[in-house]
């Protein structure tokens, strides 16, 4: 994949630090998953973090928290992932998870038009309430079932472009684009130490092997 171009973002100290080329930089980002119930939020996280897929993933009550570390070029990126419950009733707890988040993945199910509409509502809410520089990705999940899709790829892509979102169709079941969407987010996030993301000590956590793009 291409090298780190980054969104400039509000003229903040966006330039990467020229020093420290020998030592890896470490960044930590808070990422939240949002979207309607049963679209596959927990499954995406499970695939990304543990490389597993459960056909019958239990419904998330409240929220789950997991972490995964990946490497991009000279930077170790640790994602703190907040996986939220999808039911409307739990909506009031969501801001607790997305506040302070530097990234969000809004998930819908390509077989379910309603879930796409709900995803749009989430995007709207994030734009309104979350951190202004938040990187948002839209994930059309269950792409392995694209033969019975209801939400067209182009429709979602166009919506994503209009709203400045990253967009991919994913399949937690097959693993398609799962690592890629997290990687794309990581690349878009500013990684200079004094800006976003608290810095974690280098050599703290060894990056896991799940992602193929990890440092060798």
């Amino acid at each position: 994949m291409a090298t780190t171009p980054r969104s400039g973002g509000s003229g903040s100290g966006a330039a990467q630090r020229p020093n420290g080329t020998s030592q890896n930089k470490s960044c930590q980002f808070k990422l939240v998953l949002l979207g309607e119930s049963a679209v596959g939020k927990s499954s995406l996280v499970l695939r990304f973090v543990k490389g597993q897929f459960h056909e019958y993933q239990e419904s998330t009550i409240g929220a789950a928290f997991l972490t995964q570390t990946i490497c991009i070029e000279d930077t170790v990126v640790k994602f703190e992932i907040w996986d939220t419950a999808g039911q409307e009733r739990y909506h009031s707890l969501a801001p607790m998870y997305y506040r302070g988040a530097q990234a969000a993945i809004v998930v819908y199910d390509i077989q379910n038009q309603d879930s796409f509409q709900r995803a749009k509502t989430w995007v709207k809410e994030l734009h309104k309430q979350a951190s202004p520089n938040i990187v948002i990705a839209l994930a059309g999940n269950k792409a392995d079932l694209s033969n019975i899709r209801v939400v067209e790829f182009d429709e979602a892509k166009q919506y994503a472009e209009e709203n400045g979102l990253l967009f991919m169709e994913t399949s937690a079941k097959t693993g398609m684009n799962v690592n890629d969407i997290f990687l794309a987010i990581a690349k878009k996030l500013p990684k200079n130490d004094n800006n976003q993301g608290s810095v974690i000590k280098p050599n703290g956590n060894e990056p896991t092997q799940t992602t193929n793009n990890c440092c060798k």
Binding site: G11, S37, Y56, Q57, I61, A63, A64, F65, P95, S198
Partner: protein, 607 residues
């Protein structure tokens, strides 16, 4: 039987008879042929006909299938347990025939564990199911019929039924009898208690009930759990989760009193109780501890009501305290509580339940067993079974704006998180200060609070109050503190006035708010000390050991306790209590708290 069928054409009848005989003959021939073939590899054997059939080996006695084979032979302990359970079966049969039994006897037997075969009748008795069914004859079927026409939660229920206990034989097959029952019960209940509707978590509760009961029984059992004040799950599942908030606060209160070290450890690593306890409370530990243990907790919960939930939460943390203290990051701690304990609890069920019983006793001694009383919003206000047509938003399942209740929840949760952060920070700095005398103490606290607003290390998570993380180059943190309001918070300034101030103002204001009686969990150590003085042990210490010195402190404390007025209290804190007294109170409280911890440890080692 019905009347004889009309006389058919004779020939047709004969033909049918003939066909039946022919079929029986073919069948016989086929069976003989298979036995003649014997072990011949060409013989047709269905996989389930052989003992190697995997499901036999991976399914436990509750019908749950595991990833690998279970032990094939039972060890002597298991044999012993089965023998005891058979004995208990008999006792329970007798007891159930002479219901209600003496309380003491029932208590003893329930804590020993209701034998699994007896759970059906026993749970029904404990939840008064038969009575509900008798007094509400026909209601369930009517609700189910109405649900077919009017339910608005069907899509969500369907999604959840499709993934509830799919590793259990009863729910494994899509549209199996139990899956259908679960679907029906939840839909019917969403109509019966239309105020509550359906909330994720209820599928798990009803799912457990259905493992032991018939459909209509489970419906009424669920209703008792939700609406009876003893269990009060309505308040957990209703919009805004008022009971969750109340219980979490009490949970924190307990931790801060008897497991301070762990409490601080959790706060330090941003492990909010909301994260791990929500599922514990909503489904009473199912899928968070091994199923057999969760059943034991359910037995006791059904007998003694919701205080069991709080006690079990403390028990789990207590039994695993050392392990949890060794884990130095949030994901490790969460993984431990959410995943590891479900797979392997590390204690057998009897030991865990004995620990629970001790914790319940301990909490009672410390007067911590009962949380503050519920407010009216935790119970249905509308008559049950009354049909109310859903509004259009509900019907279409469209997202609506936050309601006032939800906004309040959010505000509360967020300010709670922040205060946690402040509290942990102030405790830490207090501990590190060598000379924690009166003014130095408050100065230190003040500094730590203000430093919170400027210290990058801890502010990234805790002080960004509303997601408006200002990522500008310079003074991002103070900006974020200035920018503290959700739109709706502005309408609620009288509740959360401190949110508006700049960091220092706000934090010093917050000190005042600690003195509010309504929010005792946020009090600083000194306030805790005052509260702890209410405990008997402390009184004894005061009277027996340090009678002379403690006189002034104890006097002040009593004045404080009698004096509800917040400002008075604050004044007294600052003026009346002299340095030495304050120090002393701290020390004593530390002793008492450690004693409490130790008291539990001693019991723990006896497990």
């Amino acid at each position: 039987m019905t009347a004889a069928p009309p006389a058919h054409d004779n020939g047709e009848q004969q033909q049918q008879q003939h066909a039946l005989v022919k079929r029986a003959e073919d069948e016989r021939e086929d069976i003989f042929k298979r036995y003649e073939l014997g072990l011949d590899p060409n013989n047709v054997v269905d996989s389930w006909e052989n003992p190697t059939f995997e499901i036999y080996h991976i399914t436990d006695k509750y019908g749950f299938m595991h990833d690998s084979r279970l032990p094939s032979s039972r060890d002597s302990q298991e044999v012993q347990r089965t023998r005891i359970e058979l004995e208990r079966d008999k006792k329970w049969v007798k007891m159930l025939n002479h219901w209600p039994p003496p309380q003491e006897k029932l208590h003893k037997r329930v804590y020993k564990g209701i034998p699994d075969r007896m759970r059906w009748p026993a749970w029904k008795q404990l939840l008064n199911v038969q009575h509900s069914m008798d007094t509400n004859a026909g209601v369930y079927m009517r609700m189910l019929q109405m649900a077919k026409q009017n339910a608005t939660e069907t899509r969500q229920i369907d999604a959840d039924v499709n993934r509830q206990f799919r590793d259990n034989l009863a729910y494994r097959e899509r549209y199996s009898v139990k899956q259908c029952s679960l679907f029906n019960v939840l839909n019917a209940y969403s109509i019966y208690n239309s105020e509550l509707g359906y909330c994720q978590g209820m599928a798990c509760v009803a799912g457990v009930l259905l493992l032991y009961m018939q459909e209509e029984e489970a419906f009424w059992a669920l209703n008792t759990l939700i609406t009876d004040r003893k269990y009060g799950m309505h308040g957990l599942f209703i919009e805004g989760f008022p009971k969750l908030t109340r219980f979490i606060e009490h949970h924190d209160r307990i931790l801060s009193k008897i497991m301070r070290k762990l409490h601080k450890h959790f706060m330090k690593h941003n492990v909010d109780a909301l994260l791990y306890a929500i599922k514990w409370f909503f489904v009473v530990f199912v899928e968070r501890v091994p199923f057999s243990l969760s059943l034991r907790v359910w037995d006791i919960f059904l007998l003694d009501g919701d205080r069991v939930i709080l006690a079990m939460a403390v028990t789990i943390l207590y039994l695993h305290k050392d392990e949890l203290l060794r884990l130095k990051d949030m994901d490790g701690i969460i993984e431990y509580l959410q995943v590891k304990l479900h797979k392997n609890f590390g204690y057998n069920d009897d030991d865990a339940i004995q620990a629970l019983e001790r914790v319940m006793k301990k909490l009672k001694d410390l007067k911590l067993d009962v949380p503050p009383p519920a407010k009216s919003n935790e119970f249905p206000t509308r008559p049950l079974g009354m049909f109310v047509e859903a509004d259009r938003e509900k019907k279409t399942g469209r997202r609506r704006d936050y309601t006032d209740t939800e906004k309040q929840v959010l505000t509360d949760v967020i300010s709670r998180q922040e205060q946690n952060a402040i509290e942990v920070q102030s405790t830490v700095s207090y501990e590190t200060s060598e000379c924690a005398t009166g003014d130095a103490y408050s100065m230190k606290t003040y500094q730590s609070m203000t430093s919170l607003a400027t210290s990058p290390a801890i502010s990234s998570y805790s002080l960004y109050s509303n997601g408006f993380v200002i990522t500008g180059p310079e003074d991002s943190r103070s900006q974020s503190v200035n920018n503290l309001n959700y739109p709706w918070q502005q309408q609620q300034q009288h509740h959360h006035h401190y949110m508006q101030h700049t960091s220092a103002d706000r934090l010093s204001n917050q000190r005042h708010s600690y003195c509010s009686e309504s929010d005792s969990r946020n009090r600083l150590d000194l306030d805790r000390a005052l509260e702890a003085l209410q405990g008997q042990q402390l009184q004894m210490q005061l009277e027996n050991q340090h009678h002379q010195q403690t006189q002034p402190a104890a006097h002040n404390v009593r004045t404080l306790m009698q004096n509800g007025a917040d400002n008075q209290k604050e004044k007294l804190l600052n003026n009346a209590v002299n340095h030495n007294d304050k120090n002393y109170v701290h020390n004593v409280v530390d002793d008492v708290v450690d004693d409490n911890d130790d008291a539990l440890s001693v019991e723990n080692t006896r497990l």
